[in-house]
Amino acid sequence: MTSRMRPLLSAGLALGIGMGSFVDGILFHQILQFHNMLSARIPNTDYVGAKVNMVWDGFFHAGVWTITAIGILLLWRAGRTAGADMSGRLLCGASLMGWGLFNLIEGVIDHHLLQLHHVYEPAGLSIWDYLFLMWGALMLFGGMAICWRARRFGQGSVAIRP
């Protein structure tokens, strides 16, 4: 990694983590309702359990909202950093890396180590949790490959301090 890639790489990572977390929260927690934040500890099959899980989902969303806001600030800062690589390829690769990183870290800690919830809660720890990790690893390595190509082949757009 070169120092001129660092500003956009960190911004893309934060945005990818934020967007990936929102996909998890909105798709799996709310639309499909496969699991909630603490659904392996507090079953969400009755009214009280569902409401308590809803509160913890809220804390999770508050956290990922903060990470997304940090990503926007880092992106703004990258745009003002003289000489920073501002290529779209680097931003896409970094965002993909961030999403993959989220799946891997959240998957390992919450699904496997702490057993807070599982991807498909009725099945417990199942093949879906391993597929979730594999999906994360694929995105992480795919993102790394895109960033590597951005470094190797393209100079990209360079931010110029006004």
Binding site: S10, A14, L38, K51, V55, F59, I67, I105, I109
Partner: protein, 95 residues
């Protein structure tokens, strides 16, 4: 938006017709709001009987453990972002 606009607004607000109209509208709106909010009890965490059970479960002895567990991956991810965003001390080429 200059002074002429402010003067025109003051004149408009001072007319008796507008004042009467404004009071009627405010009365209707508050009556409608009162009727709508009364039986709904939309905030189930505020006054309902189930709220006691929910609060008891939420603020149980495992509150801090749950909070730590929910925060842990997010803090780890934040640390990774901070590690990459931070400029290394001293001159750096490619690493």
């Amino acid at each position: 938006m200059g002074r002429p606009f402010v003067y025109a607004l003051r004149r408009k607000l001072a007319t008796s017709h507008f004042r009467r109209d404004w009071r009627v509208r405010a009365g209707l709106a508050s009556a409608l709001a009162g009727i709508g909010a009364g039986p709904a009890f939309a905030c189930t965490l505020c006054p309902s009987a189930q709220a006691i059970s929910i609060r008891a479960r939420l603020f149980g002895p495992d509150l801090w453990a749950n909070l730590a567990a929910v925060s842990l991956p997010l803090l780890l991810l934040l640390a990774i972002i901070a590690r990459i965003a931070r400029e290394p001390r001293g001159p750096e080429g490619s690493s």
